[in-house]
């Protein structure tokens, strides 16, 4: 019985992230538009875009190989699995034992691998630029992410997300400078990974400095729809990751009944709205960096992660 309930919660979670991701993207765009004193597109615009793109025919480049055609589905599938593994409103999921932080990093890494291959496959110069920049960012962002994972798992004694979340909800966490550092580092990594403003501009296609858009420039129709859905899923994933590890209040645990799930869902939505609002404010007040300064930005994230692990080491051995 309990297993069935867990499976149902897992399914609900999968559908929830799938349904919520475009709404989050639309919400961030809307807030940004309001901050610039524009009205902005309606909240449901990303859903409309996706529907329209799915109905359109696919235009393939002449020299596109099978890699180019299957990459969007690979990206979407790995990102969806990763997003479904992060506990959003409840921790007792049926795949909780598989919801390992390192597994999530690996899933996102394989999505990135597929995307970079697709960027290289058609042989245009933009795709190549985009792929090489994405790899440069990844080579700094992934070690930083892993250092954050090490810090958290040293504290919680497990790399499983549900255990980390339960640990952070408990009393014995204490006031730790390592946690603050890893939170800042995680936010920096999330900004870089989602191609948000100090690293890349999500709102433009017409810049020589673009990274994510450069790789997907040749995609059209349902392929583009799937890639856009994956991009908004990834944003949702990172925000839920931050929410579940650093703001785990209200998340329901196993067998707490329907009311706890409802509370969990409500607090999750509030957290997402707050995080999306802060993201929009941050993007409005910050200028985009030169591409060559991105290594400094992510180097600082890596440094924070390393420092967090080191300081934790001191406080545990002292």
């Amino acid at each position: 019985m309990a297993v069935i309930l867990d499976a149902l919660v897992q399914l609900a979670q999968l559908l929830l992230v799938l349904a919520l991701a475009p709404l989050l993207t639309g919400y961030v765009r809307k807030v940004k538009a309001h901050l610039l004193r524009r009205r902005g597109p309606p909240l449901v615009q990303p859903y409309r875009d996706l529907l329209k793109l799915i109905r359109k025919e696919v235009v393939l480049a002449e020299n596109a190989s099978w890699v180019f055609r299957i990459a969007p589905y690979l990206i979407f599938a790995t990102t969806l699995i990763a997003a479904a593994l992060v506990p959003t409103f409840a921790t007792g999921l049926v795949f909780s034992s598989a919801a390992d932080l390192i597994a999530i990093v690996a899933l996102l890494g394989s999505a990135r691998f597929a995307l970079a291959l697709a960027g290289l496959d058609i042989g245009t110069s933009f795709g190549g630029i985009g792929s090489s920049r994405e790899m440069m960012i990844a080579s700094l962002a992934e070690p930083a992410m892993l250092m954050i994972v090490f810090t958290l798992s040293l504290l919680a004694g497990s790399t499983q997300l549900s255990s980390v979340s339960t640990f952070m909800q408990g009393q014995e966490v204490g006031l730790r400078v390592s946690l603050a550092m890893s939170l800042v580092a995680l936010i920096m990594v999330a900004l870089a990974e989602n191609a948000r403003i100090p690293v890349d501009n999500p709102a433009t296609h017409l810049e020589l400095t673009m990274i994510h858009e450069a790789m997907i420039l040749e995609y059209s129709g349902r392929h583009l729809a799937v890639i856009e859905a994956a991009a908004s899923l990834k944003l949702l994933l990172y925000l839920s990751l931050i929410a579940c590890m650093f703001l785990p209040w209200g998340v329901a645990t196993t067998g707490q009944g329907f009311a706890a799930y409802a509370i969990g869902l409500g607090t999750y939505l509030v957290k997402l709205a707050a995080a999306g609002f802060l993201l929009a404010v941050f993007e409005t007040v910050t200028a985009k960096m030169r591409v060559f300064r991105v290594s400094d930005f992510l180097g600082a994230a890596l440094m924070l992660g390393l420092l967090a692990a080191l300081l934790l080491f001191v406080s545990q051995s002292a």
Partner: protein, 220 residues
Amino acid sequence: MDRLALDVAHLFAGGLVLVSFMLLYQDRMFGLLNIFALHALVVSLSVAWQAYIQAAPHLYITAGIALVVKAIIIPVALHRIIVRLGIHRTIETVVGIGQTMLAGIGLVALSILVMLPITAEAGTLAREDLAFSLSVILLGLLMMISRRNALSQIIGFMSIENGLILAATAAKGMPLVVEISVAFSILVALIVIGIFLFRIRERFDTVDVHALERFRGEQP
């Protein structure tokens, strides 16, 4: 209560190491000054917390001196010097920020590895603070050797002094006379360095210390 006291002390000491890294990362003059003021503020908070948990009221005076002299007087004075010299542009570092950061991480790891074994008998708080203060001192030295601009070298020097204060308070405080004389010698050092800066600038039209090396004939 005891656990919370330890956690807050850890937070301040770790925060000081973090601010030292921010000093290494920042390459603009006014930003550097603001972060230095933050550095001094964190030190005085940390000392005040130590005064509270060790029930040692004379440490409050140390915290007050750190706050007034190093978080207010010295940043304001340096701000005026920068404006007078007209050097509020970007400062150049000898090696890149990335390498400096990596070297800094290495120094922090080194000081932890050195300090934790040799202080095995001391209390938890003293061990932690000693390890952190050694890393603040080493980071200050790193800042002094990795920057060319005389003003950022001064800021590195002052941050070393903050690390020394942290070490002294962790080891049950130093006598007040010593603390006051150290504070005054720092002020005197500031005055001497200020005059020195204007002299370098008069002579070479720059505050880049490489000009001195060229003048001595050490570099072609």
